[in-house]
Symmetry: C2
Subunit: 338 residues, 2 copies
DNA sequence: CTGTTAGCGCTTTCAA
DNA sequence: TTGAAAGCGCTAACAG
């Protein structure tokens, strides 16, 4: 039933080596031989054993995709995009999830689970600790970071500083002066992580407008909806004069909207809210956002690892643009004509 | 650098066979030998080559997870749950995505990409065509369906008929008489698919209350937000007297709410809307829903395949309950005291 | 252009 | 309880 390579070789009247070459489109096979081998292989339903091929060649034709979650917007979309791109190029995708604990401590990702199992690694969206990253790189496989990464790593990401800058400039143009920032917990924030960079953009925009980005205007909580909800309340407790909130993700922004509702405040009449992402459900609450191209990032990262695997030297850093999508969760503050 | 099994054997002063047995916790290894082998292996950083192990044993310790999408609520959560469960048991997860085309025709999923690559298969959420499923089963691996599946297949799912029944009974209790149903496209709907069963529940609830579930009250569009949005408009064009909509998913329900807003209608004053899922963002619009335990389903399915792989005969069918979560998108129709 | 042959690094009988 | 040895099913030199 399960035809092996020598069944094909015998039936086609050639050697196993020729079958192997023919089926993998290697050179040095005559057109007619290749044709015959292909025909026989199809007829016999022959599919090469990946384990045997890996063992013999040292290549697995699989990519490890490491992500803290799969059920959150950014991660789900990146995984979706990368998986399709990789499969289109004939690569398997091994999915590795790990938990971020609320406590700040999370199980470290164990490099051994990837050892000899993949040809390359994609790390999605969450800054690994320096030593975790190094352990991973120590495996010796090409590695690409998606949505984060310093100058040392091959990276596909946004220009997060500019995103923060443009978002907050927009709020300032609307007339806001006291603009809060809601973002994720500090322990996950490296100097070159998206949250840190977006916060930098927020600070720069405030400063260039002569406003004070004081620490009390920033709140770091959970990255999810519930985090945004709690953070906005903490912010308002400290700064009742707040008229606008820039959240570092749409999920947190939507949480902020829920939190404002809890407090009996209206959006945007009392407080304007905007986020970053382009979440499809943002429209439910008219969420203004900095929309990012997420499928493309997954795709680009896939191309990047594959190029690295194939010995090319692709750009070490691909940066995608975000664009402002203006909806109804932002408006001029009361008493200011826009 | 990369220690092999005979490096360990040599260093421990035993044969490779013993190393293999010791490290895999097989019987017939003395406690002290096992201990020594373990110590040496750790010291040398030895990790067995999965390809070699698979080739020799015929088992891959990998499960293929087939899903139409990863970026939609149900699928993302199932994948997340199943991946964690499988990894906890030492299995790898190979992710396979395929596209549902709007046209109704989608690329068939090719069983050959899974051949000799996995020990078991999980098919998430979308009814495969009969012959696709058979082709997959023809590979000879244990296969479990999650969120769908007939009586022939091992299945983890909800009682979708009861969900539809209870949802619509609830709307009827509120006083609604003209209740529409928004669901997915008919070409993906098998007799035993969740959409079909939920529709059956809707029909039964209507009938038992002496109401007419006429075909014009049901609209099948896309499964996503945009589908719900379009469907509700079609529904209202045919039935301006509609006062409530039961959508087969929260995403379609949220789309329906957007569609109603487009028409200038208020929820729930003009039309009540409810869904199925328990989507975390449902709260944004106060969505009433039939909430389902989604992580648990992923976990249960993982346990199921693994049991099947290990020759046990687990229950062929695990059914999880959903529960009504009442929020503000549903209310008594105008003129009816609740 | 094609065939021969030696592994790849384990697991698994079979003996001891 | 342990070891020897024969593969698992391919790929990759190397010859021809």
């Amino acid at each position: 039933m399960a035809a092996g390579i020598d069944d094909v070789a015998r039936a086609a009247g050639v050697s196993t080596a020729t079958v192997s070459r023919a089926l993998r489109d290697l050179p040095n096979v005559s057109a007619k031989t290749r044709e015959r081998v292909r025909a026989v292989a199809t007829e016999l339903g022959y599919v090469a054993s990946p384990s045997a091929a890996s063992l013999a060649s040292g290549r697995t034709r699989a990519i490890g995709l490491i992500s803290p979650w799969v059920n959150r917007w950014f991660f789900a979309n990146i995984i979706d995009g990368a998986e399709r791109a990789l499969r289109a190029r004939g690569y398997d995708v091994l999915l590795y999830t790990f938990d971020i604990q609320r406590s700040g401590e999370r199980p470290r990702i164990d490099p051994d689970v990837l050892r000899r199992r993949v040809d390359g690694i994609l790390v999605v969206g969450l800054p690994l600790a320096r030593d975790e990253l190094e352990a991973l790189q120590g495996l010796g496989y090409p590695l690409v970071c998606i949505g984060w990464g310093g100058s040392e790593e091959a990276t596909v990401r946004l220009d997060d500083r500019v995103i923060g800058l443009e978002a907050v400039r927009y709020l300032i143009r609307l007339g806001h002066r006291v603009i809060g920032h809601v973002t994720g917990t500090p322990d996950d924030v490296h100097p070159w992580s998206p949250p840190a960079d977006r916060a930098t953009g927020w600070r720069e925009a405030m400063t260039e407008a002569g406003l004070e980005p004081d620490a009390g205007l920033m709140e770091s909580g959970g990255f999810e909806v519930s985090g945004g909800r709690a953070s906005v309340k903490a912010l308002l407790a400290r700064h009742p004069d707040l008229t606008a909130v820039f959240a570092a993700s749409d999920e947190m922004a939507m949480g902020a909207i829920l939190g404002l509702r809890d407090l009996g405040l209206r959006v945007p009449e009392d407080v304007s809210v905007m986020g970053v992402d382009g979440h499809e459900l943002g429209e439910l609450v008219g969420l203004t956002t900095m929309s990012q191209p997420v499928d493309e990032q997954g795709w680009a990262a896939a191309e990047l690892v594959l190029d690295m695997i194939n010995g090319k030297t692709p750009p070490r850093r691909v940066v995608f643009p975000a664009r402002l999508v203006e909806r109804t969760s932002t408006a001029a503050p009361r008493g200011v004509a826009s």
